[in-house]
């Protein structure tokens, strides 16, 4: 099992390097430090969401509502700051807690009522987005944030974009949780066999609930970097980000059925998509159709990664069949 994951990561690293070489050769001013920072700055939100989507998928679950949660948190951050008059850091903590509450709702419905995660988060996908639109009556937008907050989205620390440090910090935290703590070990056990995990004395419901609350909290953080980067908070923030996060995580070798997967794999998936999106806008031949082409290539990449993943299984089955008929 672990062997299969390693080969997947190796493929992804070579893909990433191939992308680099190709875009550096054909793209205009691709491999400059500024552009590299652009790639990082533009993939922070998707990166954060992919990070917390990994433990959820490891337990065999899924979260379609994480993009809407980001939107709701962005709105409440704006409301707390502008209308409730809270200082930015207090409003930020409020937004993160709102995210945690959204995650708690998802987790509670999934664990206490044993409901399928896909359908629960499909319901909260419209509910959270609906609440964001209702609170702002659709039209209201929050802007003119103080410089101290905008620093989060456009400033630099030690020459590196601020939000890159946030992504790095959250990435390290989630990597340690998944790969170096008992929590991570229990996510895999639950993903492979939730009954087996329960008989081994693991608190299955509590661990699954933890994953969804963590996802909500980090979606709150992502709403802050999104709002800071954009300079404004509106009800359509983060629309469709959950599908991009799922694409990156699956591309990174994590199995949608649970158990197999890695946080660094997901990060490689995010990087591969980010470099693809950025690179295409710099290749003169395809510059004018960059956005559509990146959508088509992302879909194709995802399908080939999946099909490649099942190759060993099918080869083995084919060999076994051939073995029998030889007798």
């Amino acid at each position: 099992m672990i062997k299969k994951l390693k080969s997947h990561e190796a493929i992804l690293v070579t893909l990433l390097i191939a992308e680099f070489l190709f875009f550096n050769a054909t793209g205009r001013r691709f491999a400059t430090i500024d552009n590299l920072f652009n790639i990082v700055r533009h993939s922070v939100e998707i990166g954060l969401l992919a990070l917390v989507m990994t433990p959820i998928i490891l337990t065999g679950g899924i979260d379609l509502s994480i993009g809407s949660t980001l939107g709701l948190c962005a709105i409440l951050f704006g409301k707390l700051w502008r209308d409730a008059g809270l200082p930015p850091w207090a409003a930020a903590i409020g937004a993160i807690l709102v995210g945690g509450a959204c995650g708690l709702l998802n987790g509670a419905l999934i664990t206490q009522l044993r409901l399928p995660p896909l359908i629960v988060t499909l319901g909260t996908f419209s509910l959270f987005r609906g609440l964001a639109e209702a609170i702002t009556r659709g039209v209201d937008a929050f802007t003119n944030f103080p410089e101290s907050f905008l620093f989060l989205g456009s400033g630099q620390i030690l020459g590196v974009p601020t939000q890159a440090w946030i992504l790095l910090a959250v990435a390290i935290l989630i990597w340690l949780i998944v790969h170096r703590t008992v929590l991570g070990r229990s996510f895999r056990a639950i993903g492979f066999s939730s009954e087996g995990a329960r008989y081994a004395g693991l608190p299955v419901e509590r661990r699954i609930l933890f994953c969804y609350v963590l996802a909500g909290l980090v979606a709150g953080i992502a709403s802050l970097t999104y709002t800071a980067r954009l300079g404004t908070a509106k009800a359509d923030a983060g629309y469709g980000y959950e599908l991009l996060a799922i694409t990156a995580v699956v591309l990174g070798g994590t199995s949608i059925f649970g158990g197999i997967g890695s946080v660094h794999g997901a990060m490689l998936g995010v990087a591969a998509l980010a470099v693809l999106n950025n690179g295409l806008t710099r290749v003169p031949a395809v510059m004018n159709i960059a956005s559509e082409l990146s959508g088509v290539l992302t879909g194709a990449l995802l399908l080939s990664a999946l099909a490649l993943g099942t190759l060993p299984k099918h080869l083995a089955a084919w060999r076994a069949r051939r073995h029998i008929s030889l007798h």
Binding site: R114, E133, G299
Partner: protein
Amino acid sequence: MKRHFRELSVLAALLLMLLVLALFTPNFYEPQPLLSRLTAAAPKLILACGAALIIISRQIDISIGSLFAVCGTCAGLLAAAKIPFAFAIAAAIGIGAIGGAINGALVAGLGLPSIVVTLATMVTLREALRLAQQGVFINLPEGAQWFGLAMKPGQSFICAVALAVLVVLAFATKHLAAGRFIYAVGSDAEAARLAGIRPRAITFAVFVLMGALAGLAAVLNMAQSPQVDPNSGRGLELEAIAAAVVGGVAVSGGRGKLWGVLIGLLLLVCIGPALTYAGVKPYWEKAIQGAIILLAVVADGLRSSARKGLFD
């Protein structure tokens, strides 16, 4: 009575809503706008029936909206190129079936998870269409709208076709072996294999059917106006799945009735207009729809966990 409890509870909700509308906003029932509203919902009913069969076979398909747009645009281009309209309709259904076959081959053939396969096909189809058509409307030739009939007969014809599809599929899933095989595969694929049913073939066939239905829905939608909007179909996949879930189709597979899906769809489709008639601000619509889906899902959870407790 007990076995239809779930569908009847949704019917009760729908009747309650219609009653409230009748009392407070009677012109909801003005014949002409009501017929137009039902005609606009007809394509969604066909998509919801397809989505229901997919969910009953314990799979999911979120590429329905993109396939719907591709089929509609292709049919529009063919019709605009003076190809006989009947041929354009057949082409749309054929292209839909091919799209469904691609999903089916990947899910049933390679055993890939349907949520991720259809996520990939959704994105690929939508962006490829945008690449080709760039969002430019397609003007249909003269006789295309309402299939050449006058408007009122055209509208009733479209509603009739949608209801016919519902009746045929409901009959097939109740009385034909193929229909029952879908329930069997959704309920327990291994038991189906041991009973001599071929689960992978059934799953493949359901995806192909879903594609063809998407093509047919696109044609019925196209016939309602003289122009084809290539961006159409955005979000239809979630509406179709929501209608099936609210209509009592169990995501765990093997359970659900198509007439329940009809009621689920009517409930969700009525919310928008109901808010307009009641003069409620439009920004409440999405939150209310999300709440209804969650309520239906929680109701399912309470009911099956009560029963599952016995069995677990």
